[in-house]
Point group: C2
Chain length 125, copies 2
DNA sequence: TTAATTTCACTACATTTGTAGTTGATTATT
DNA sequence: AATAATCAACTACAAATGTAGTGAAATTAA
């Protein structure tokens, strides 16, 4: 049920595919070139690993070339990563985490307003 | 200047020493036994790695047994981990991170009040 | 149609991480 | 003192991660 573990390099692949999919390996390599300057084989290795983990699905485009697309939702992966981070660093408690990031960020008045509204909706009923 | 990378297992060691230090390897093993059920050699390996990384310092107690204590502050490590998490998952932006955790938590009225106050203090000047 | 390019399936290999085991020296017990 | 327990230094070893390279098959371009 829970999305598979996704490593840091793999995460870049996922982000690119959540942004736009399906993509072939070589397309993806070009997509990522500006950020990660990876060899195409590196991208292919990561794609294969993500397929094995069930984080991606493969298909074929009209030319018969394999394409890749996410098999798991970004939001669900973000939730899992977030949970694990909160667990590891803040013993699983949301409040100290929120305090930490609130204190270590500078926000605009608009952002503060918005966040306050969301906080109101997080009230334990 | 930035604290060294600390792995998940290593983090447990650090937490125990931030809680209470100095401790010898065998004390620490006992301290951690309830949570991590590690062999003493496992604890020693982690201690050595943390020493090498400069995350811990060693000393000796009255009996000449080596003791360990943090060489880096918890808050500074938390900040580093937090930064890296925020970078990896939220592209470095605090607001979506805060939104995410606010939306995925249920907080008490008291906690909400407190967080709002902190948000006010995070106003970009 | 031969040569060049692309795609895919494997293999490679150093690091990091998790989790110990072994051995020799020291110290504390009987 | 002989024995047992503890420590510290090394060694071990598999899985995960980062980052490719090789070689064969298929497709495209000259």
């Amino acid at each position: 049920m829970s999305p598979p573990d996704i490593s840091e390099s793999e995460w870049s692949i996922m982000e690119a595919l959540w942004e736009s999919s399906p993509q072939t390996a070589s397309e993806l390599t070009k997509t990522l070139r500006p950020t990660m300057n990876w060899a195409e084989n590196t991208v292919r290795t990561l794609l294969t690993r993500l397929l094995d983990k069930g984080a991606l699905k493969a298909d074929e485009n009209a030319l018969g070339t394999r394409t890749y697309l996410p098999a798991v939702k970004r939001e669900s992966c973000v939730r899992a990563e977030g949970e694990s981070f909160m667990q590891r660093i803040f013993g699983g408690a949301a409040k100290p985490l929120l305090v930490h990031f609130a204190q270590n960020s500078k926000l605009t008045a608009e952002e503060v307003r918005e966040l306050k509204k969301i906080l109101d909706q997080s009230l334990k009923s």
